[in-house]
């Protein structure tokens, strides 16, 4: 053979040499690829998180209103005052309620999409979840403002059906009730559930898709009823998906400050407290300490989820 693989003229020069170097040092290639994203996320994001954390250890001088830049746990202590602790508890309970309800509503949809929907219907299901997930957050809240308003569709429907007494009974329940739906916890809960529900459906569906059909058939074959199969086989196997979905619903509810501001009572949630303290009140340390609460809760949550193997389902 005379013609030995012709020397590649195009791969000489500086680019060719860089390419050769990357082959000799694969670690260098990875480092080069990662340098830009790491710098960005590391400096802008982690750096900011760190300054936030730092500020939560400062405190505010009660007389001058200035931030005192020395290490103290005093601000964290303030979180435990009854008013502030109420805020944390309220937010936590709301996140639990939203997450659990979302799991219950999401499961049938995800189950149907994963098990029964085929071809076109499946694509339709996918879009039916994707479109609400991606549609504008504010528009969704706005839609609920229209729905829950006194002159809105819910009141209209209820009075048309002659069921006003039921609605009034609900609104007269202490704590969750209120003057109208749009200024009650029920309203806040409905909107939060609506806004974050799609984030639960997708991971649950993904987990259910991975349950092999023959496992279900084996369970039926061994005499399990549909209900038993669901309880003993399907739900445990879908659990990582449910946990993955709950990470989103829980985290997103914990941090939301717009929904409770627009639809709900005057009692604050964590997000509102953060917003108010950093804004008008100018109490950055307290705002930062409040912001650390969801971080801590989510860290614990993620740690538990990781032990359950749910992070792969994200």
């Amino acid at each position: 053979m005379t013609a030995v693989a012709a020397v590649n003229s195009k791969t000489h020069g500086i680019w060719g040499r860089i390419s050769d170097l990357m082959w000799r040092k694969p670690g260098l290639l990875v480092a080069t690829l990662l340098s830009l994203p790491i710098l960005w996320l590391g400096i802008i994001y982690l750096g900011s998180l760190f300054t936030l954390l730092l500020q939560s250890f400062y405190s505010i001088d009660e007389f001058s209103g200035m931030i005192r830049r020395e290490f103290t746990l005093k601000t964290y202590g303030e979180l435990l005052s009854p008013a502030n602790f109420d805020i944390i508890l309220r937010t936590f309970l709301m996140a639990c309620a939203v997450t659990i309800s979302a799991a219950f509503i999401a499961f049938p949809i995800a189950y149907y999409a994963a098990r029964y929907a085929r071809g076109r219907l499946k694509a339709l299901f996918y879009l039916a979840v994707m479109l609400p997930l991606w549609s504008s957050y504010l528009v969704k809240i706005y839609a609920w403002k229209l729905i829950l308003a006194k002159e809105g569709i819910v009141n209209w429907l209820v009075s048309e059906l002659g069921l006003s007494f039921l609605l009034n009974a609900l609104l007269s329940v202490p704590v969750i009730g209120g003057n109208s739906l749009s200024v009650s916890y029920v309203g806040t809960y409905l909107v939060l559930l609506y806004v974050w529900l799609p984030f639960m459906i997708l991971p649950v569906q993904a987990a259910l898709e991975r349950v092999p059909t023959n496992l279900i058939e084996a369970s039926r074959d061994l005499g399990g009823t549909q209900r038993q199969t669901l309880r003993i086989v399907i739900i445990p196997l879908a659990m990582p998906g449910i946990i993955a979905g709950s990470i989103f619903t829980f985290s997103l509810t914990l941090g939301d400050f717009i929904v409770p501001q627009i639809i709900g009572t005057s009692r604050r949630f964590i997000g509102q407290a953060v917003y108010a303290h950093q804004g008008t009140a100018g109490n950055i340390p307290l705002a930062a300490a409040f912001a650390v609460v969801p971080i801590v809760i989510m860290t614990i949550y993620l740690w538990v989820a990781k032990r359950q193997g749910a992070l792969d389902a994200l």
């Binding site: 690829l33 830009l36 802008i44 900011s48 949809i109 991606w134 549609s135 706005y142 501001q261």
Partner: protein
């Protein structure tokens, strides 16, 4: 052996109920854009009209907010495209130490509540005396958009047969040629889809933006003001409808781009 495995009536009712719950509220937006009522949210609308479209069209504040939103979304999704692709390439190319931490770092800005990202950035900008501007909005948006591109790109890299990259090197292409002639054509649609989703995410974002924006208004900020203090309900109705329509397009586009690829393989 076949079992009676059709969906039960209870399941069907639950599915239909759930889907109605997801979709009816959005459909309502379309109805309200045409209502003649301009002082309240009366249902059913007393009459239907097209005049609010004309009114909205002539509102400079809406146009300015729209323009800023488009600009921010375009720049942020471009930055996210570069950062997300680089990350996905590095993570999928080799198993290096700290791989999981990279994934976590990318996911974190979206796994933690937006308010945390927002207030962190705000306090950092304050600390370093960086004035709030379009730039600060973009810094925030690009940060949480990376994950969308990353997820799309890494899924495609995973499906890409590793040996075609080796085949390219084997046939004499250097790293850059392989990137240009083999990797880019094979991940282009996934990147486009990721970019579109990032665009939609940024276009719609309000939580982080409330913390990182100065005096400027993006469209979501404009809407938020209207939600808190309703002043021009009919215009808000129209804007809401337009926003829904505009965000649907990149979503459908991204879906089409990724679904078509799956079907062809």
């Amino acid at each position: 052996m076949r079992f009676d495995d059709r969906p039960s009536a209870t399941l069907r009712v639950a599915v239909i109920g759930g889907l109605l719950f997801l979709h009816l509220p959005i459909l309502l937006i379309f109805l309200y854009a045409f209502t003649t009522e301009d002082k309240s949210y009366e249902f059913p609308p007393p009459g239907l009209t097209l005049r609010w479209f004309a009114v909205t069209w002539n509102r400079p504040d809406v146009w300015e907010a729209l323009e800023l939103s488009l600009k921010v979304a375009a720049v942020s999704s471009l930055i996210a495209l570069v950062l997300g692709t680089l990350c996905a390439a590095a993570v999928s190319r080799s198993r290096f130490f700290g791989r999981e931490s990279i994934s976590l770092l990318v996911i974190l800005p979206i796994a933690l509540p937006g308010i945390i990202t927002g207030i962190s950035l705000r306090s950092a900008f304050n600390l370093f005396d960086i004035p709030f501007s379009t730039l600060t909005i973009i810094l925030g948006h690009a940060t949480f958009c990376v994950v969308v591109v990353y997820n799309n790109a890494i899924a495609r890299f995973r499906r890409l047969s590793g040996s075609i990259i080796e085949a390219s090197m084997d046939l004499g292409a250097d790293g850059f040629q392989t990137f240009r002639y083999v990797i880019v054509p094979n991940i282009a649609t996934a990147l486009l889809a990721g970019g579109m989703l990032a665009f939609a995410l940024s276009f719609d974002e309000v939580i982080v933006t409330t913390f990182t924006a100065g005096q400027q208004q993006t469209l979501p900020i404009w809407m938020l003001e209207e939600l808190v203090r309703p002043r021009q309900r009919p215009v808000t109705n129209v804007v809401a409808m337009v926003v829904v329509a505009v965000t649907f397009m990149p979503i459908l586009g991204a879906y089409y781009l990724t679904a078509e690829k799956v079907a062809r393989r």
